[in-house]
C-alpha cells in the first residue's frame, strides 16, 4: 500500500476497508458460519456492513475537511500493458462519499432487518447453511457495490458493476429450487437468469463504451477521460455520442430502463431484503451514478443528454402505468422502482445531476422502507395464515412447510383459493391497519414520501427534478408529472387495499405484527424518509447536497422553489390519492371482487394488469425466434446435418466402404495374412535346416573348425 498523492489529513488510509470490512465479515461467516447460530451469523454480517458504514462516514468527513478535493488511494497495481495503465485505486470525492454513505447506511439497516426476516421466510426450512449463505451474499454485495462507487476508473467501476450483477443473480435465485410460494419450481432460477442475461445486454453496451473510450480517449481513468473528451468532442463528436449512448445501454440494463427494465419485476422472486437493498435502494441506482460520474462527457453532447432524459421520462411514465394494474404488493413496488429510476435517469439526462442524486438518496430511504414494510406485511400474513390454517394440525411443526402444503392441497385443505395461499397478493389483504399498526404507520410514511407529499423527502427531490425538467424539456416535464400522478394513485390504491377495509382472507384477519429486529431498522428509515429532504432544500443557503457535489461535478445552479411546479405536482398527487380513495377506500374491495378499475378502463386495465404484454412481445420478437433458431441449429444443423449426415453418412460410410474394398477377405487373408504367415514358416524352415548343423557330435564340430582353418589358411597362402 502506498499513497499516489500526498494526503493532507483525514482518514483516507481507511479507504481499502470499504471493501475489506464486508469481505472480512463474509470470510468469517464462510469459514466459521457453520458453528454459529443464526443470530451470530446475522450480527457478524451486520457488523461488517456497519464497519463499512463507519469507514464511509470517516471518509466523507475527511473529504469535507479536504474541501471536496479528489483524493486517490492506490492499493495495488492492476493491469499495466503498453499504454494501458490501470491501478486498483480508490477515489474519494463528494460524489463517491455520498454513494458510500447511502450504500453502507441503508445496507446495514437491511442487514439487521434480514436477521429477523430470513428466519421467518416461508421458504426457509432451517436448512443449515442457507441462512449463512444469504448473509455471505449480502456482504459480498456490499463489497462489490463499494468497489463500484469508489473505483477511480471505468474498469474498476466495471468490476463492481459485474460484482453487484453477480450478487443480484445469486440473491434473486436464492430460493432457486422453489417459486415465491415455496412450491417446487424453477421460477426463481428463471427470474435470476432473466436478470443476468438482460444485464449482459447492458454490459455489452458498457464494454463497447469502455473500448471506444480507451481507443479514442486513451484511458479508463475518470479524470484523464474527462480531460481528453472536449478535444475529441470538437474533432469527432460522434465518438462522444457513441460512448454516451452505449453507456446508456449499460445504464438501461443495470438501472432497469426501457427497453431492458423487464428483469426487475421478476427479480422480486428474491427475498424481500434483497429486493429492498439491491433492487430498489442501491444496485439499480448504479446507472444513475454512472451518468453522474460521467457528467463531464454527457455535458459535451446535448443530443445524447436528450435521449437519456427521454428514456428516463418514458420509463417513469410507462412503469407507473403498469404499477397501477398489479396485485402483488412487491410487484407494485418493483414497477414503482422502475418508474422512480426513470425520474433519476431523466434528471441526470437533463444535466440536473444534483436533483438526480438527491432523488437517488431519498428514494433509497423511502423505497427501502416500503419494500421492507411490504416484507413485514407478507410475513405478518404468513403468520396469520399459519396460526389459522394449522390450528388443528399444529403438532407437525417439524415437517417442512412445503410438505405440509402439499398434504393440504391433496386433502382439499384450508386454502382460500383452492391454491397455495399467496401472502403477497393484495387481494388477500385488507384491514391490516388494526392487526399490524407499526407496519401500517411505517408504510404510510413511505407512501407519502414516494407520492411526493409535503414535507416528506420525496416531495423535495421529485420537485427538484420536475423543476429542472420544466426549465429544460417540456415533454419530459409532462411525462414526469403524469408519472408522479400515477405514482400517488397506485400508492394510494395499495394503502387502501392493504391496510383499510375488511380482511379478505383468514390470514389477513389473524395477521401479526413483526418483531423489533425488523421494525426498528424500519423506524430509522422512516425518520430518514421524513427528514431526508433537508439534505437539499430549495431555499437560499440550504442547497447542501448541491454545494457538496459541486466539488465533483462542477458548478450547479441551486434553483429556488418554484411554486407553480410544486403546486401542480402536489395537487396532482392529492387528486390521485383522492381518486384512489374514491375507488378503493370508499367502497373497500370484498373478497373475490374484481378490481373496480377494470370496468371503466376495460382493455386499458387489462394491458396494465399484464404489463402491456411487453414480456410476451419480447418472447414473440426475440426469445421465440431465438429458441427456434437454436432448435433449428441443434436439430437440423447439429443433429441431422453434422451428426447424421457428416458423421454417420459421410465419414462412417466412407470408412466402411474403404474397408470393404481394401480390407475384404481376399486382400486381408490372401495378402496381409499370407505374408505374415510366410514370415513365420520361412523362419521355421530356415531354422530347421540350420538345426542339423548342431548335431552334438564334438568331432563334427572339430572337423568344421579344421576345415575353416584350412580354408582361411588356404586363402591367405594362395592369395
Amino acid at each position: 500500500m502506498h499513497l499516489s498523492e500526498t494526503v493532507t489529513s483525514g482518514f483516507f488510509f481507511l479507504a481499502p476497508w470499504l471493501v475489506f470490512a464486508p469481505i472480512t465479515g463474509l470470510l468469517i461467516n464462510a469459514i466459521f458460519g457453520r458453528y454459529f447460530s443464526e443470530k451470530v451469523v446475522g450480527t457478524v454480517a451486520s457488523l461488517a456492513s456497519g464497519a463499512a458504514f463507519i469507514v464511509s462516514v470517516l471518509l466523507a468527513y475527511s473529504v469535507s475537511l479536504n474541501h471536496g478535493e479528489v483524493v486517490r488511494w492506490q492499493l495495488a497495481q492492476w493491469i499495466h500493458v503498453g499504454t494501458l495503465q490501470l491501478d486498483w485505486t480508490f477515489r474519494m470525492d463528494s460524489l463517491s462519499a455520498t454513494m458510500m454513505l447511502v450504500v453502507s447506511g441503508v445496507g446495514t439497516l437491511i442487514h439487521i432487518y434480514a436477521i429477523g426476516y430470513m428466519h421467518e421466510d416461508v421458504r426457509f426450512k432451517h436448512e443449515e447453511g442457507r441462512f449463512t449463505r444469504f448473509f455471505i451474499f449480502l456482504n459480498l454485495f456490499i463489497a462489490a457495490m463499494m468497489i463500484l462507487v469508489s473505483g477511480d476508473s471505468y474498469m474498476m467501476l466495471f468490476v463492481g458493476w459485474e460484482g453487484v450483477g453477480l450478487c443480484s443473480f445469486l440473491l434473486i435465485g436464492f430460493w432457486y429450487e422453489m417459486d415465491t410460494l415455496a412450491r417446487p419450481s424453477w421460477a426463481n432460477s428463471n427470474a435470476a437468469k432473466k436478470a443476468f442475461i438482460t444485464n449482459r445486454v447492458g454490459d455489452f453496451g458498457f464494454l463497447i463504451a469502455g473500448f471506444l473510450m480507451f481507443w479514442y480517449l486513451g484511458s479508463f481513468q475518470f479524470d484523464e477521460v474527462f480531460k481528453a473528451a472536449p478535444a475529441i468532442a470538437e474533432s469527432a463528436p460522434w465518438v462522444i455520442v457513441a460512448i454516451t449512448l452505449f453507456m446508456l445501454i449499460g445504464v438501461a440494463g443495470k438501472s432497469a430502463q426501457i427497453p431492458l427494465y423487464i428483469w426487475l419485476p421478476d427479480a422480486m422472486a428474491g427475498p424481500t431484503p434483497v429486493s429492498a437493498l439491491i433492487h430498489a435502494a442501491t444496485m439499480v441506482t448504479a446507472g444513475v451514478y454512472l451518468v453522474t460520474r460521467s457528467a463531464a462527457i454527457y455535458t459535451l453532447v446535448p443530443q445524447a443528454q436528450y435521449i437519456v432524459a427521454m428514456v428516463g421520462a418514458g420509463t417513469a411514465l410507462f412503469a407507473a402505468t403498469i404499477a397501477v394494474g398489479q396485485y402483488d404488493i412487491k410487484k407494485v413496488l418493483a414497477y414503482s422502482t422502475i418508474s422512480q429510476l426513470g425520474f433519476m435517469v431523466a434528471a441526470v439526462g437533463m444535466g440536473a445531476y444534483v436533483a438526480g442524486m438527491f432523488h437517488l438518496i431519498t428514494h433509497a430511504f423511502f423505497k427501502a422502507l416500503l419494500f421492507l414494510s411490504a416484507g413485514s406485511v407478507i410475513l405478518g400474513l404468513e403468520r396469520g395464515h399459519h396460526a389459522h390454517a394449522h390450528h388443528a394440525a399444529h403438532d407437525d411443526h417439524g415437517k417442512g412447510k412445503r410438505k405440509e402444503k402439499k398434504d393440504e392441497h391433496a386433502h382439499g385443505g384450508h386454502d382460500d383459493h383452492g391454491e397455495v395461499f399467496d401472502p403477497g397478493d393484495m387481494r388477500n389483504m385488507g384491514g391490516l391497519r388494526k392487526t399490524m399498526p407499526v407496519t401500517f404507520w411505517l408504510y404510510m410514511i413511505g407512501t407519502l414520501a414516494l407520492a411526493g407529499i409535503f414535507p416528506f423527502a420525496g416531495f423535495w427531490s421529485k420537485d427538484e427534478i420536475l423543476l429542472d425538467a420544466s426549465l429544460h424539456f417540456t415533454s419530459v416535464y409532462w411525462q414526469l408529472t403524469i408519472a408522479a400522478f400515477f405514482t400517488a394513485f397506485y400508492m394510494g390504491r395499495q394503502i387502501w387495499m392493504v391496510f383499510f377495509g375488511e380482511a379478505r382472507s383468514d390470514a389477513a384477519k389473524h395477521a401479526e405484527e413483526s418483531p423489533k429486529v425488523m421494525t426498528v431498522p424500519l423506524m430509522v428509515l422512516a425518520v430518514l424518509s421524513v427528514v431526508g429532504g433537508a439534505l437539499n432544500l430549495p431555499f437560499e443557503g440550504f442547497h447542501n447536497l448541491g454545494h457538496w457535489l459541486e466539488h465533483t461535478i462542477g458548478e450547479v445552479e441551486g434553483l429556488p422553489l418554484n411554486l407553480p411546479v410544486a403546486g401542480i405536482s402536489t395537487a396532482l398527487a392529492l387528486l390521485a390519492i383522492l381518486i384512489s380513495w374514491f375507488l378503493y377506500g370508499r367502497n373497500p374491495l370484498k373478497a373475490g371482487q374484481i378490481d373496480p378499475l377494470k370496468k371503466p378502463l376495460g382493455f386499458v386495465f387489462t394491458g396494465m394488469e399484464n404489463k402491456w404484454f411487453v414480456d410476451e412481445g419480447y418472447f414473440a420478437v426475440i426469445i421465440n425466434p431465438f429458441k427456434k433458431l437454436s432448435a433449428f441449429l441443434a436439430d437440423v444443423i447439429d443433429w441431422r446435418f453434422w451428426h447424421d449426415f457428416v458423421h454417420d453418412t459421410v465419414i462412417l460410410g466412407t470408412y466402411n466402404w474403404l474397408s470393404e474394398i481394401a480390407l475384404n477377405e481376399y486382400a486381408d487373408q490372401k495378402g496381409i495374412d499370407a505374408f505374415a504367415n510366410w514370415l513365420g514358416t520361412a523362419t521355421q524352415s530356415i531354422s530347421a535346416s540350420l538345426r542339423k548343423l548342431q548335431n552334438g557330435f564334438v568331432r563334427s564340430y572339430a572337423l568344421s573348425v579344421l576345415l575353416g582353418v584350412v580354408l582361411i589358411l588356404g586363402y591367405l597362402i594362395l592369395k
Binding site: 538345426r691 548342431q694 548335431n695 552334438g696 557330435f697 568331432r699
Partner: protein
C-alpha cells in the same frame, strides 16, 4: 656340427600334426583324442624349438615351456572331466555325449 636341415623338422611336425588332427576327428575314445591333441601340441613345439635353434633365439623355447605347462593343466582338467563323465554315464564314447545337439 653338421646339423639336420630345418625343413625336415617342419615336415616331421606337419606329419605329426596331421596324425594328431586325424586322431581327434576319427577316434571316439576321449583318451585317444587327448593323446592326439598332445601330438598336435608337440608338433607345434617341435617347430618352435627347431626354429629357435636355427634363429638362435630363446623365444621359441620359452613358448614351448608355456605350451607344455598349458598342456599339463589341460590334461589335468580334461582327465578330471572324463572321469566325471564316466561316473555319470558309465560310458565315455564321445559320440554318445551329444546332449547339446539342436
Amino acid at each position: 656340427m653338421n646339423s639336420v636341415p630345418v625343413d625336415y623338422y617342419v615336415l616331421l611336425s606337419a606329419i605329426l600334426f596331421t596324425i594328431g588332427a586325424m586322431g581327434v576327428l576319427i577316434r571316439r575314445n576321449p583318451l585317444i583324442i587327448f593323446m592326439s591333441i598332445e601330438l598336435m601340441l608337440n608338433a607345434a613345439n617341435l617347430v618352435f624349438v627347431a626354429y629357435a635353434s636355427v634363429l638362435k633365439s630363446f623365444s621359441g623355447q620359452i613358448f614351448v615351456f608355456f605350451v607344455i605347462a598349458v598342456a599339463a593343466a589341460e590334461v589335468a582338467v580334461g582327465l578330471a572331466l572324463i572321469v566325471q563323465i564316466f561316473k555319470a554315464k558309465k560310458n565315455i564314447n564321445i559320440d554318445e555325449l551329444n546332449s547339446l545337439k539342436g
